[in-house]
Amino acid sequence: MKSAVILFPGSNRERDVANALRRAGGAVEIVWHGESELPTGTDLVVLPGGFSYGDYLRCGAIAARSPVMDAVRAHAERGGKVLGICNGFQILVESGLLPGILTRNRDLRFICREQHLKVERADTAFTKGYAAGQVIEVCVAHGEGNYFADPETVARLEGDGRVAFRYCDADGSVGGLSNRNGSINDIAGIYSENLNVLGMMPHPENLVDAAVGGTDGAALFSGLAKAA
């Protein structure tokens, strides 16, 4: 699998995700946001975490409008896979590749902690390595991860099975205190209509190594590597 990790000014988890992809056996190229084309043979585009353009104005807003995003859009339209993590998710919604928006966390504070997630379905390119309904432990690190969309959009997402992950507690129950940022329907990640674009707030790339917190994130990358 060949991945292109897009580097925006202010991205800061590009190394983390590149490491996770390489560990899973993928080839990784870091691509500058000013490029107008993706490297040939790119299977997966990754928009990494960070604070692109300082997160000024709105998170992801300025990055969503950079030259490379036209190429990313074209890649997605061709059915190519796109993964946006944290700031990458914010960029995806700002660029219209995914619906809704991510706003300030409910209590207005940045939150960095371990977080349980429920994997909603295991039949997408991103979640092949998991079982449907599986509870995994990853971590979150964001100030604006409060997912919001209008009721019709949310209904459509739910109806079409486009919710990828939900915040839950250790035994998988959803709702309540495990949703720290206030996201509607405890949404932690969503898919595009064709299930080839995934945006998620938590950081699976920081949990791929037993020595550093755990390995529950690894299956996402190994699943992707197998899918390609």
């Binding site: 409008r65 706003t103 966390n105 409910r106 207005l108 919001f148 206030g182």
Partner: protein
């Protein structure tokens, strides 16, 4: 030419910052505040002195970048 753009949340969109401010005001002893909604403003200086051109630029700025029309509306005023 100077202009001010204001971007506010659409009705019905949750405003956690506004709510938090309202809460904080209570604990600071500022009473009688029934609601707070936070928005953004941009003070802009434009090169042109032609109002029509200024208006076109401002509209383009708002549509392309300053407001996310999923949840926000914008207005602008050109300073006389």
């Amino acid at each position: 030419m100077k202009a001010r753009v204001t971007v506010t949340l659409k009705n019905g969109v949750l405003d956690p910052q506004g709510k938090a401010i309202q809460g904080a005001l209570g604990s600071l002893g500022v009473d009688g505040v029934e609601s707070v909604r936070q928005g953004k403003l941009f003070d802009v200086e434009l090169a042109t002195s032609d109002p029509a051109e200024a208006e076109a630029t401002l509209k383009a700025m708002c549509e392309k970048l300053l407001a996310n029309t999923v949840i926000e509306s914008y207005r602008f005023e050109i300073a006389s």
